[in-house]
Amino acid sequence: MPSGNVNWVSKVLAVTEKDIVSEFRTRYAINAILMFALVTLTVISFAVGAFSPTKEVMAALFWIILFFAAMSGLAQVFIKEEESGTALALKLASDGTVIFFGKLLFNLALLFALTVIVVPLFIILLKTEPANWLFFLYAILLGNIGLAGATTIIAAIVSKATIKGALFTVLSFPVLMPLLIAVIEITKSAFLGGVFKDIAAPMQLLVAYDVVMIILSYLLFDFVWRQ
């Protein structure tokens, strides 16, 4: 009979690995995310082709693309489990914290994969690039952590609802508003070549948002997941 000596981290990674393997085989979320990102990027590049938008507009456009692309795919992490009936097996197999952090890591991996594709395309198609790459990386790192943290718990909530897709975006938008404001502010500074003083306040907000969102999601998750 199996021996019970798997630690918590290995269990979390098993959930993430399972989701990554399933995703590569079914392309359930990644196709939707990538297609949305590519279509939006192409449309925007055509729209702004004739004139040069300001760096402030570029920063907002970058996060609009990431936000809506993420919205089209991140919810699948729980919707797929509920719709295919595997949620029950998963509930009985492991505790809520393992599932939450496993899914959070998967959503983070998905977001970083999306970012790796969107950033070079954004730079090429919109003929712009950050003057301060370090600030840009801060924005991407902290922005993606916050996006994944908030959307993972919202995905768990909407997976029980009938109109999942629409509800996910509607619920996510107000929750993600502070994150988007802070992250666009940092990205704007990155494009304009600002100094650290310019991003200190939004950085503080972003770090606090990420910490609070992940702790709150962790505390709420068990209740949402078991019902």
Binding site: G4, V6, K11, V21, T86, A89, L92, S94
Partner: protein
């Protein structure tokens, strides 16, 4: 010693009464068949016992030596085979077994996986994707996942659903092998399965 107490349990969906005043207690070595026609609330009662639904009245208590157990404590000791429980179609049979064992905290070797698959009659099919399994093969794999957990509480909802004769024999063997050390709860409307348990809880009367 592990004990399950179902105390004055009742469930309503809006104005519709599903069942009321359900009472029974079980310890390892004891078994009960929850019987009744379609829609009488057998699966609902199983979900209430597991703690995935909230009863309208009454309560379910899992305890160990008199100490009540929280959901996570008894979940580790519980396995369910049910038509409402699905496995991952995009993973192979072996990958499913390995995944569920690992998230439950168990390391499972390839030999153990092969042995479990042989026990449920799926030898040689472990590398196939579950999406390519027939409904009977899927039911057998659910038994393999339940067996891998080595649970003290075995809950079987329609235990022979989709199984052929050899599958039904395998299920009988599994039940017999687990009967002595497990709490066994079977939900069924098949008369021949009533005898798999010592006692009956009749719903839909």
């Amino acid at each position: 010693m592990l004990k399950l107490d179902v105390l004055n349990l009742a469930k309503r969906f809006g104005a519709r009464k599903v069942f009321e005043s359900i009472n029974f207690s079980l310890t390892p070595g004891e078994s009960i068949a929850i019987v009744g026609p379609n829609g009488s609330g057998k699966s609902t009662l199983l979900r209430l016992i597991i703690g995935l639904n909230i009863p309208t009245k009454g309560k379910v208590v899992f305890s160990d030596d008199g100490e009540p157990l929280e959901f996570d404590a008894y979940r580790r000791r519980l396995a369910l085979v049910s038509p409402y429980l699905s496995l991952y179609g995009s993973l192979t049979g072996k990958e499913n077994l390995r995944f569920f064992a690992k998230v439950n905290g168990d390391n499972i070797s390839d030999q153990e996986i092969d042995s479990l698959l042989a026990q449920v009659g799926l030898q040689g099919r472990g590398e196939d994707f579950v999406s390519a399994y027939s409904s009977g093969m899927l039911q057998r794999l659910k038994y393999a996942v339940a067996l891998a957990k080595n649970a003290e509480i075995l809950m079987l909802d329609e235990p022979s659903a989709n199984l052929d004769e050899s599958g039904k024999e395998a299920v009988s063997d599994i039940i017999e092998s687990r009967r002595k050390n497990s709490i066994l709860i079977i939900a069924t409307n098949e008369k021949e399965e009533y005898a798999l348990a010592e006692r009956q809880c009749q719903l839909g009367q």
